[in-house]
């Protein structure tokens, strides 16, 4: 977890696994950077199966939170000075 709103899911221990069960606390979770399809709802905290592998990682946003983000690509920023 990154604070109470964001959860990262990455399996760095087994890079050949194509799916991994990741633990999610109860609530509704939406994939931030790959928002395809519906968000999912966990009535209770439980594992959720997600794709995994060398190029697979997820950041999920918890329902009810506002997360300001700075888009370095859109701002063409490599360092804070470029902002």
């Amino acid at each position: 977890m990154l604070g109470g709103a964001l959860k990262t899911s990455v399996n760095a221990k087994n890079l050949t696994a194509t799916t991994t069960n990741f633990y999610f606390p109860a609530g509704t979770w939406c994939s931030v950077f790959a928002p395809v399809g519906d968000c999912f709802y966990n009535a209770v905290s439980q594992n959720v199966s997600l794709a995994s592998g060398l190029d697979k990682s997820f950041v999920h946003l918890r329902e009810g939170y506002i997360v300001p983000m700075q888009d370095a690509v859109a701002l063409k920023a490599k360092t804070t000075v470029d902002l």
Binding site: C30, V32, L61, E63, T80, V81, L83
Partner: protein, 132 residues
């Protein structure tokens, strides 16, 4: 809470903008999503007297808005995006439109093409409205 500075200074006094952002949703008089911005620290050292904007850098301007899991509550697919400024918090100015993106299940406002960038230090509230 959103905090922005130049990433270099260690002196926060007058060099940091900090905002507390909250959201509400209403179905009275159409459908509205309100984002209220309360500034809790102001980068007074960056105040532009002509524009009354205290932006430290581009990260103090509104870029885009994404509202996730929109199908769980939204009634409409298109919305006006309106801004009320601190100096006149009861008057809303339309700055663009937002639309529902079914593929990602989000309401999306792309502010990257705004002719007049919206300085967050001046904003009181952002309304995403369908008044139909």
């Amino acid at each position: 809470m959103y905090l922005n500075d130049d990433g270099l200074t260690t002196n926060v006094t007058g060099n940091v903008n900090q905002y507390r952002i909250s959201a509400t949703y209403s179905r009275s008089q159409g459908e509205s999503i309100y984002l209220t911005i309360v500034q809790t620290m102001t980068a007074t050292n960056y105040l532009n007297i002509q524009t009354n904007c205290s932006a430290v850098n581009q990260a103090d301007y509104l870029q885009s808005l994404y509202i996730y899991n929109a199908s769980s509550f939204k009634m409409h697919d298109t919305f006006f995006v309106q801004v009320a400024y601190e100096h006149d918090p009861t008057t809303y100015t339309t700055v663009g439109s937002a639309s529902f993106d079914a593929a990602t299940n989000r309401i999306v406002f792309d502010g990257s093409a705004l002719q007049n960038p919206i300085c967050l230090t001046q904003v009181y509230r952002i309304a995403i409205r369908n008044l139909a």
